[in-house]
């Protein structure tokens, strides 16, 4: 039954993101900090690292499409970027040793890259007019801190679920 667990976790994370999004922006000393939950992306990269890139890209396409239609009304943005990030992760992971710390670091780097690409895109279509330094301090930094906290807390759970699924798949082949 672990077979259905991965899409289920992805679905729950997809629905949890906007719920956590309701708490942002955070105001501290009159300065606003934007925290963007990227649970689903981090989970997808974990799936890429421990399971396989094809599944992750497929989930990425599906949930990216939902995300595009439901939230931002620009179809093709997330549904392209999610699989793209999984592809990059899949390429990198071939040449490095797989362990939890490497996976966590890789995920965080890719999440930061993802945020930055989105920033470039929204600046390009002129929806955001934010200087780079403001973006780095008020968006990227708090987002990365919050997401790394989430990942440090739940990364091992992701890993154990995905590995359990992997073992199940191997057994069913035999």
């Amino acid at each position: 039954m672990i077979r259905y667990l991965l899409p289920l976790i992805a679905l729950v994370l997809f629905f949890l993101e906007p719920v956590f999004g309701l708490f942002s922006p955070l105001q501290l000393d009159g300065v606003y900090y934007y925290i963007v939950p990227r649970f689903l992306l981090m989970f997808l990269i974990f799936v890429t690292v421990y399971y396989d890139a094809k599944h992750a890209m497929f989930y990425g396409l599906f949930f990216g499409l939902l995300y595009d239609v439901f939230f931002i009304d620009i179809i093709g943005l997330y549904s392209f970027l999610y699989p793209m990030m999984c592809l990059i992760a899949g390429y990198i992971v071939k040449s490095v040793h797989r362990n939890l710390i490497v996976a966590t670091l890789l995920t965080l780097v890719l999440t930061a890259l993802f945020e930055f690409v989105l920033y470039l895109f929204f600046s390009f279509i002129a929806l955001a007019s934010m200087p780079v330094d403001v973006f780095l301090t008020s968006r990227l930094l708090p987002t990365m801190i919050a997401n790394s906290l989430f990942l440090v807390m739940l990364g091992w759970a992701f890993k154990s679920v995905i590995v359990a699924r992997l073992i199940e798949r191997e057994n069913s082949k035999v």
Partner: protein, 295 residues
Amino acid sequence: MSRFFSNKRLILLMLGVILLVALISYSLRDRDNVSFPEQIIKDTVGAGQSLFSGPAHFVTGIFDNVDSLLNTYKENQHLKGRLEEFAAVKAEVTDLRSENDQLKEIVGKEADLRDYNPIQATVIARNPDQWEEKVILNKGESDGVMENMAVMTAQGLIGKVTLVTATTSTVELISTQNPNYRVSSMVIGGEEGVFGLIEGYDAERRELLLKRIDAQIELEVGQQVVSSGLGGIFPKGLIIGEITEITIDEFGLTKLAYVKPSADFTLLNHVMIADREMPETKGEDEGVATEEEGS
């Protein structure tokens, strides 16, 4: 590297990029209607999202309650001070209201730009990437919500409905960077209303820009800004905010005022959609509508 970019993959990638650009440019156009598959996706995801946002609102509600419990003493002192004032104001309001009704009866004026039917709605999601200021509500076409209706909280106007499906609606907040987002508004507090347009948002100051005010008119800091109802869509008299600074605009012809919004956009929970009783014009508030009226 050569294996990564094999021919087949390269072609696939190129096709993907072309498809992406085509889709993005399609969806970036100003679309009036949501296509049918989009409607289905929005409604389904909206239903799922409601399941998650319900408990979340419950939890934030508990924190809010604890927070207000801790402030009870201070608030009580403050409120006691206001209570006497309140009684006097209330009496005056009742008096003025009945007088207003009588006068309207004499003139024979029935409909008013002020009248609207409130539709209660709950915020089920906020765009998590927060580049566009959008929230999604759990009421849609089947509840009488239509595009361009004003959305507000008890404190004041927060935005307008931009997309509607059967059971959800997307609200673009007034704090958006979208240049086509205008609200016809007026400043009250002087002898008569001063009209202007809320046009744009200063993200650094977190204040709205009230533009196109006649340069001859004297304004004061602290005056209230409300919607004027003349844009054709919003009802009259929804509170928008308070003037904090007055300057001259970039062309030096009209005045520009910074308006601090009275509503708080950060933790939105329950909101109200204003369905105006007077017939609404098509198009945006102060947008296409005025042109249609003119021609």
